[in-house]
């Protein structure tokens, strides 16, 4: 079992956990947390591949990870803003309650 495989398995586990959280929690914010976890699993994969890949000096994987971190930050900001607005509007963050498009 190579170290890379280990990292990949951890990443997969994280991804699965995040997905489970996103799929099972009711609170929209926690769904977002799950999504963040999935993103981070992806980052871990990127870094691991960069580290054990053929050309680490090109930095592709790390750059990818850094950019995805930035994108994740943006995503979190917008997502949470949406959640807050929804809460103001519907006074709930329960996803089971939020199943209508009409206000």
């Amino acid at each position: 079992m190579t170290p890379l495989a280990g990292y990949l398995l951890v990443a997969a586990l994280l991804f699965a956990i995040g997905l489970a959280g996103a799929l099972t929690r009711r609170n929209a914010i926690l769904v977002l947390i799950g999504i963040e976890l999935m993103l981070n699993a992806g980052n871990l994969n990127l870094i691991a591949f960069w580290r054990y890949g053929p050309h680490p000096e090109v930095l592709t994987g790390m750059m990818f990870a850094i950019f995805s971190i930035a994108v994740a930050a943006a995503e979190a900001a917008v997502g949470l803003g949406l959640v807050i607005q929804i809460h103001r509007h519907a006074h709930t963050t329960d996803l089971d309650a939020m199943n209508r498009m009409k206000g």
Binding site: V10, A12, G21, R25, N43, R51
Partner: protein, 166 residues
């Protein structure tokens, strides 16, 4: 497979599990930060110093705080009466398990083809900076634009309907 790796991955996975399973939302957020920290340490373990610090700075310094703010603003800190898991949690769990099974299967399938332990690459911040403004300058610009747009968008979204508040 170093000893450190096991510790860190255990910490990370534990944090993630806690973040998903805990009842109290704020606890979830704090556990999430633990997971983030574990990930950052994993990055350091992978000699990705810069990425690790960036991870801490962005996720623990910004995203976690954002989440916390959001929780408090949506009064989500108190746990709801009727369970924190949706009615269809079983299906979700099954799906997640399936995903993990497939991914794990894929990894194990290809483990023979994965490269063995190669010597750690040494990258200085200098190199990262140069490639950021050199080879990857276009993505950098795009990300900059994206962040600006996201900031404005978030502000617009989160702004009150009523004017004159900050």
């Amino acid at each position: 497979m170093s000893f450190v790796f096991y510790i860190l991955s255990a910490l990370t996975v534990a944090g993630a599990l806690a973040a998903v399973l805990l009842k109290n939302t704020v606890h979830c957020a704090l556990a999430l930060t633990v997971a983030f920290a574990g990930l950052a340490l994993l990055f350091l373990d992978l000699h990705a110093q810069f990425a690790g610090f960036a991870q801490i700075l962005v996720y623990i310094g910004a995203v976690a705080i954002l989440v916390v703010f959001a929780i408090l603003l949506t009064k989500g800190s108190e746990t709801p009466k009727d369970g924190v898991f949706s009615k269809t949690w079983l299906a979700g769990l099954a799906v997640a398990a399936a995903v993990f099974a497939v991914l794990g299967w894929a990894v194990l399938q290809s483990t023979s083809r994965l490269p063995q332990d190669v010597k750690a690459p040494t990258v200085t911040v200098q190199q990262i900076g140069q490639s950021l403004v050199g080879r990857y300058v276009l993505p950098l610009e795009i990300v900059a634009v994206l962040l600006t747009a996201a900031m404005i968008g978030a502000v617009i979204i989160a702004l009150h309907e009523k004017e004159g508040l900050q």
